[in-house]
């Protein structure tokens, strides 16, 4: 295996998709202590100018992380993940994260990531860095 795990610049990542329903919102909110009403209270979300309750940014971030981890083959290989929220991600829509390998330097692989809703809206965009060196061997 090459230091980059056989990946090449331009390779597409396996997509990660999630249809986030109200039950998942409740579970994720309870687990992370996130009680912000824009995530589950429709009237409140609309009063804030949102079309409907929206998926937590942290939950969207887990999709970015998962896409990078699938490329790496293990969660411990992801050294960083970053994203910017671009548009509300309504609860109930299908969110799909896709990505591309953009840079390879030794054991370090950079990928760009985008998240779209099923209506085509760009909800978030970002990047991640993974390494093919086991964590125990890193300095």
């Amino acid at each position: 295996m090459t230091p980059s795990g056989g990946w090449m610049v331009g390779d597409a990542l396996e997509q990660v998709a999630l249809q986030c329903d109200p039950v998942q919102i409740l579970r994720f909110g309870a687990t992370t202590h996130n009680a912000h009403r824009i995530h589950y209270d429709t009237d409140y979300a609309r009063a804030e100018g949102l079309p409907d309750p929206v998926v937590m940014a942290q939950l969207q971030g887990t999709l970015f992380f998962r896409a990078a981890a699938r490329l790496a083959g293990e969660v411990g290989a992801v050294t960083s993940v970053t994203w910017r929220n671009r548009a509300p991600a309504p609860v109930g829509c299908v969110l799909t994260v896709s990505g591309t390998v953009t840079r390879i330097e030794g054991d370090r692989i950079e990928v760009t990531l985008v998240e779209h809703a099923d209506d085509g809206a760009l909800c978030a965009e970002g990047s991640a860095v993974i390494t093919t060196t086991p964590r125990s061997s890193r300095r």
Partner: protein
């Protein structure tokens, strides 16, 4: 991702620590008691070490910046906060830079 996604530790918080919108009053620095709308703007997470089981973890928060923005959607403040997660008195586990949109 679990650790940096948590807004509070396992004990949660008392009712008086919440804003009327359900957010923690101190989650977005400087907004406690203000009638403002809060939205997530994005995050950068650097994973430094694997969290050990059974060890207390401390979080240090620092306000990195407060910027006035003007976009098609109107004016807003962009507050940037960094959080450093450490095993108490020991190794760094993760460094998070989080951006909040305040209208």
């Amino acid at each position: 991702m679990y650790l940096p996604s948590m807004l509070r530790g396992p004990d949660g918080a008392d009712s008086e620590e919440y804003r009327p919108d359900g957010m923690f009053a101190d989650e977005v620095p400087g907004t406690a008691g203000l009638d403002v709308r809060l939205l997530a703007g994005g995050q950068t997470i650097e994973f430094c070490s694997t969290p050990p089981l059974g060890e207390p973890i401390e979080v240090t928060r620092t306000v990195n910046g407060v910027d006035w923005k003007d976009s098609d959607g109107g004016e807003f403040l962009l507050i940037t906060v960094s959080k450093t997660y450490r095993v108490t008195g020991s190794v760094t586990l993760a460094i998070v830079t989080e951006r909040f949109i305040v209208r």
